[in-house]
């Protein structure tokens, strides 16, 4: 039995690899427990005149599910990821260009949106796109007896009464995006945000270690 304030990150099994695809300008794969997502970034590239914005880059996000064609659920995930990326990328440095981010779901065992956000951030860093801060995704589930579980598995998500995903930024640890489902009180929401902000520090430290390992060959 865990108390509702205890922080538990699923198995701390984070895995990440950068520059694994040869065609895209930046790519990364992020593994959280059994959930794994691969991201590819193209840009800044040519943009169609109908989609160009005169003072900023146009960001397009595509989420491809493991099986089947993208549906309404993928569209809402794309909107969440796009809003987070637009908040942290310096889009005004590349006006009239397009940035394309493609996320391929390799395996879904819960916490999919936060895994997508983490893979997206690593791929954007790998592509060398200018960013004002990093971001990470943390998922919290509230079980029927009020416990807060971070990074729930698919089984835990099914039995929970509320599921929330937050995108946290690295500069001020503020919430960039939130996506919630289920019923919960205001107090529980604030507790979940606090728990997510604490969990995000571990994820940012993991980013730092991964990037250090990547540049260790050239140092």
């Amino acid at each position: 039995q865990r108390s509702s304030n205890e922080l538990y990150l699923r198995c701390q099994e984070f895995g990440c690899e950068q520059s694994l695809l040869s065609r895209p300008d930046g790519s990364a794969s992020f593994v959280q427990g059994d959930t794994s997502v691969m991201a590819g970034v193209y840009g800044p590239a040519e943009v169609k005149v109908s989609k160009e914005i005169y003072d900023r880059a146009t960001l397009e996000v595509l989420v491809q599910p493991k099986v089947g064609l993208p549906s309404v659920r993928e569209r809402s995930q794309e909107q969440c990821v796009r809003e987070t990326c637009e908040a942290s990328l310096l889009l005004t440095l590349h006006p009239r260009s397009s940035l394309t981010l493609i996320l391929q779901v390799l395996h879904d065992d819960g916490s999919l949106l936060s895994c997508c956000l983490n893979a997206a951030c690593m791929a954007l860093m790998d592509a060398g796109l200018p960013m004002s801060c990093l971001f990470c995704g943390v998922t919290c589930a509230i079980s029927t007896d009020g416990q807060i579980i971070t990074d729930p598995t698919a089984a835990q998500e099914k039995e929970s009464r509320a599921l929330m995903t937050f995108a946290i930024d690295s500069a001020k640890h503020s919430v960039l995006m939130s996506s919630t489902k289920g019923s919960f009180s205001v107090h529980e929401l604030q507790q979940c945000i606090a728990v997510s902000q604490k969990a995000s520090e571990k994820i940012f430290q993991f980013y730092r270690d991964s990037v250090k390992r990547r540049y260790s060959k050239s140092l």
């Binding site: 840009g43 590239a45 040519e46 590349h94 004002s132 801060c133 980013y207 730092r208 540049y215 140092l219």
Partner: protein
């Protein structure tokens, strides 16, 4: 702030890391105050009174006060004065459209070749390779290329001859090849004689005596990206011994 930045030279930094003036820095009222100047290169920008990192990479320093982030990237963003290899895609009126791998195509006027006049046009066709440098390259305007330098001479720029092989590498490898005392270049010189043109947009053109030698050099350069210095020298030695 100069000392805090100087301390972290050689470290791997991530976007969002910042350097700011410390509150304890005191200015002496009696001794003369030296004004500190920090010049930011690629990867660093000024945000108010802080210095913020916006690309991930290693912080490098050059005397006396230049700092920049050395990052690995594949996509080229044009900068004024850099020389690149471009492919001519269209001829519209007096101007050629050149694709250099960026977000839009650059324009190259036919008068910017050595010895070109309105009557004496340069012999450039669609599909040719050109080695040119950027005259105008900022984020708001269409980039412009020229094939002459400021004194009106070609200086190695212009249209390529026939033959040779064009291939893509990462921008980091290109910078390593163009560095003043590059060890990759000195290793390559000991192999076989070849003609090598390196464009800062990540494109390299190689021409050697036979097709086989050309392909060997292209493969060696592409694989040198991910190797350490020792692995690379081992590979070059192996090729030299088994060379045709």
């Amino acid at each position: 702030m100069f000392s805090t930045v100087r301390e972290r030279v050689g470290e791997v930094l991530l976007p969002g890391d910042e350097f700011s003036f410390e509150a304890e820095e005191k200015i002496s009222l009696t001794a003369p105050v030296k004004s500190e100047k920090v010049v930011c290169g690629p990867g660093l920008r000024r945000c108010g009174d802080r210095l913020v990192v916006f690309k991930s990479g290693v912080l490098r320093h050059k005397e006396p006060n230049v700092f920049w982030i050395d990052s690995q990237q594949r996509r080229y963003v044009p900068a004024k004065g850099e020389s690149i290899i471009g492919i001519v895609t269209a001829k519209s009126g007096d101007v050629f459209k050149v694709d250099f791998g960026g977000s839009e195509q650059a324009s190259l006027s036919y008068l910017t070749f050595e010895g070109a006049t309105k009557r004496n046009r340069p012999n450039v066709q669609v599909g040719d390779l050109v080695f040119a440098q950027f005259l105008i390259a900022n984020k708001d305007m269409e980039p412009e290329l020229v094939c002459i330098d400021s004194s009106g001479r070609a200086n190695g720029m212009g249209v390529f001859g026939a033959g040779g092989l064009l291939f893509r590498v990462s921008l980091g490898l290109v910078r390593r090849l163009l560095a003043p005392h590059s060890d990759i270049r000195s290793d390559l010189e000991q192999l076989f004689p070849c003609e090598l043109v390196v464009g800062m947009n990540g494109r390299i053109w190689v021409k050697s005596a036979t097709v086989q030698q050309t392909l060997i050099i292209a493969n060696l350069l592409q694989s040198a990206e991910t190797m350490t210095a020792q692995q690379r020298q081992q590979l070059f030695r192996k090729v030299q011994q088994g060379a045709f």
